[in-house]
């Protein structure tokens, strides 16, 4: 981000006026800190991240159960899940009498707290599932943005630096990928056996199912950063400081790394932030359509889908058996994360003065 701006400290005039020299990065950061909405959004995003990645395992330890544990006594006779702040018998097996009716648990069974209640007929802890589901959804968003940026920046850089045939090739390729309805492709691949095989790839750190969804999203969104990089490089390539480097004997790769990449930073960071939000939203859509993260792994899309049913077999609406809480809390979690990311993205745009990348 070190723009080749003129700093006034080396003005050789005699009078020494102490003008603080700030790099463009420092200026941008200072502007960001004065933007109240952006600061709030940053704290919100940090809180969501912290809650999902640190809070979830800690809370799971404290409560003594996990996100996939079933509590048969957390639902009533109609299978309606309990509401927020319920203490339910801490047992994973329901006692059944001789007639097949469920009877109260054995005396002496301890109780366990479900902070936001249970998630549905299976009686799992909704709050824990939201936190662990947040891990999955956020991982998908982040990884998809990283994959798209890696592909997009490399191809865009090649097109912008080399021009000619390479540029034409990359441009046509990006137009074809752009023209393809991404949602359709996500569902197509997700529903196939290829999707099933990709599901198991975790790279050691990711949650199950994250990699496949993120890879697919990344493979079909890289053209945004690619076009962003290409257009900027086309104009930067002719600037005097590039010519100066060239005549000084610098190689193209070195010029790209040292002189051009820093210029691309602001727009790429802005795009990346918004792309994480888009990735989170895409995961929700694809999982809801039964082609993303699979049961029983929690993700925000999975929680919404579990309550509603599947596209081909929506669960029947029985007023006595349906609780509003799972849908409302899941919507709220998604909302908080995405609003924060959008606001950060927009604040970055304001600060850097970049165009909204589309």
């Amino acid at each position: 981000m070190s723009m080749p701006g003129v700093h006034h400290d080396e003005s050789a005039s005699g009078a020494q006026i102490a003008v603080p020299v700030r790099s463009p990065r420092a200026i941008a950061f200072a502007r960001l800190r004065r933007d109240r909405a952006a600061v709030i959004a940053f704290y919100l995003a940090a809180a969501v991240l912290l809650a999902c990645f640190v809070g979830a395992p800690v809370l799971s330890q404290i409560l003594g159960h996990g996100p996939n544990d079933l509590f048969p006594y957390a639902v009533d006779d109609n299978l309606r899940p309990v509401g927020p702040l319920s203490r339910v018998p801490d047992t994973h097996a329901a006692l059944v009498d001789d007639y097949g009716e469920i009877v109260p648990p054995a005396t002496g069974t301890g109780k366990t707290l479900l902070i936001l209640g249970a998630d549905g007929a299976l009686g799992r802890d909704l709050f824990l599932r939201l936190l662990y589901g947040g891990q999955v959804s956020i991982e998908v968003g982040l990884l998809a943005a990283v994959i798209a940026l890696l592909i997009g920046v490399s191809l865009g850089a090649l097109a912008g630096m080399l021009g000619g045939v390479v540029d034409a090739g990359v441009s046509r390729l990006s137009e074809i990928v752009m023209a393809f309805p991404i949602l359709f492709l996500l569902v197509l691949v997700g529903a196939s056996s290829l999707g099933s095989r990709l599901q198991d790839i975790t790279l050691g750190v990711l949650n199950e199912g994250v990699f496949s969804v993120a890879l697919l999203i990344g493979l079909f969104t890289w053209f945004y950063p690619a076009r962003l990089v290409r257009t900027q490089l086309l104009s930067l390539r002719r600037s005097e400081f590039v010519d100066a480097s060239l005549v000084s004997g610098a190689g193209r790769a070195w010029i790209f790394r040292k002189h051009l990449l820093p210029h691309l930073g602001p727009s790429l960071v802005t795009w990346g932030t918004l792309a994480v939000a888009t990735g989170i939203l895409l995961e929700i859509g694809v999982t809801f359509l039964n082609a993303g993260v699979r049961m029983p792994t929690a993700s925000w899309g999975r929680i919404l889908a579990d309550t509603w049913g599947s596209p081909l077999a929506p669960s029947r609406y029985l007023p006595a058996a349906v609780s509003l809480w799972p849908t409302i809390f899941a919507s709220l979690a998604i909302f908080i994360a995405v609003v924060a990311l959008h606001e950060i993205g927009e604040a970055l745009q304001r600060v850097f003065g970049t165009e909204r990348p589309r």
Partner: protein
């Protein structure tokens, strides 16, 4: 004028090539994913032997070499024949494999999707056109800031989430409107009851009440996006000299907005709508699934997740029809831009936007 025509012709030709590419890509992606398509016509054989499956594959013609199948596929496409839906296909010893034509299925579904999108767009325009200029004239007021905050909320809400919440709260808990199903506009009562899972209904009133929640969920996301754009646009119109002239001649605020600002942003709204058709179809997919509307999106899900695998003819048919709609809408947008701003005619390298939604 001839410039416009050749511009349109070039765009149409590019669109046709793009559609052919889309169809071919869909064919090859489908082909690359192995499946026994013969399962579709095995009928009530519960545990078919390998021979029975192979015979069924042979009858459907999916055991032939890939290039032969592709040649057939392209030939049929050229004649406008989309084939029959494999899901509905049965084998009859005297007539071979028969089933419902894809064209018929796609047309019926397109009517439903069309109802959702058109109604949603009308609702959107009816809300945005007065509201955008009005907010611009009250720029910086508490109302303006509140509504901008609300639009940030709507932009961040997945249409799926909006649909689920509206269905659960308004349709189910409160029971004010039907929570799912589709009723045909032209009252063939009961004709669609199998697809929609709703008891007999039909006619304009049933049609509209069943679509009210889908329209609402559809327009929320776009309302937010458009409101921001139109507000900005209106602000710049309000700074134009002709607005000062109108005011100097004694026009009231209201007259300035309705006679001068709304007409000049109307064109922008129309172009935006035409360019967003692809996104709109993607949004419609979720709305159809949630509200159980037998439209293109839901039909696509059925074709993608059916019991015997991918129903390729239906998938190709839907991809082609939606692709064609998007290409035509983009062309319309380009032509409209050309009419409004002749400078754009020669440039025209904005690229075709044919993604089914970013969300």
């Amino acid at each position: 004028m001839s410039g416009m025509l050749s511009f349109g012709g070039r765009k149409l030709a590019i669109g046709a090539v793009l559609l052919f590419g889309l169809a071919s890509l869909t064919f090859w992606v489908n082909y690359a994913i192995p499946q026994d398509s013969g399962m579709f016509i095995l009928g009530n054989i519960s545990n078919p032997t390998r021979e029975q499956v192979q015979e069924a594959n042979h009858r459907l013609g999916v055991d032939r070499p890939a290039l032969v199948q592709y040649g057939d596929f392209v030939g049929d496409l050229a004649r406008g024949d989309l084939g029959i839906s494999w899901t509905t296909a049965v084998y009859k010893s005297d007539e071979g494999v028969v089933g419902e034509s894809v064209a018929g299925i796609v047309l019926r579904a397109a009517a439903v999707t069309g109802s959702v999108v058109l109604g949603g767009v009308l609702l959107l325009v009816a809300l945005v056109l007065p509201l955008g200029p009005f907010l611009a004239s009250r720029s910086g007021s508490a109302l303006d800031r509140t509504i901008l905050l609300v639009t940030l909320a709507f932009v961040s809400t997945h249409p799926l989430v909006a649909a689920l919440l509206l269905q659960l709260l308004v349709g189910r808990k409160l029971g004010w409107l039907p929570d799912q199903g589709y009723c045909p506009f032209f009252g063939d009562i009961g004709a669609n009851s199998i697809a929609s899972g709703v008891a007999e209904c039909g006619g304009p009133v049933d049609w509209a009440t069943h679509l009210l929640l889908p329209w609402l969920s559809f327009s929320l996301l776009f309302l937010a996006l458009y409101l921001r754009q139109i507000r900005t646009q209106s602000s710049s119109v309000l700074r134009e000299p002709f607005i000062n002239v109108a005011r100097a001649k004694g026009a009231s605020d209201r007259q300035v907005l309705s006679r001068h600002v709304v007409p000049s942003v109307l064109a922008v709204v129309v172009v935006m709508v035409a360019m967003d058709v692809g996104t709109a179809l993607g949004v419609a997919l979720f709305i159809e699934v949630v509200f159980g509307l037998p439209g293109l999106g839901r039909q696509l899900i059925i074709a993608l997740q059916g019991f015997a695998g991918f129903d390729r003819p239906v998938i190709v048919g839907i991809v082609l029809v939606t692709g064609a709609v998007v290409v035509l809408a983009n062309l319309a947008a380009d032509l409209l831009v050309g009419v409004i701003d002749p400078r754009a005619r020669t440039g025209g390298s904005r690229g075709t936007r044919l993604g089914a939604g970013d969300t």
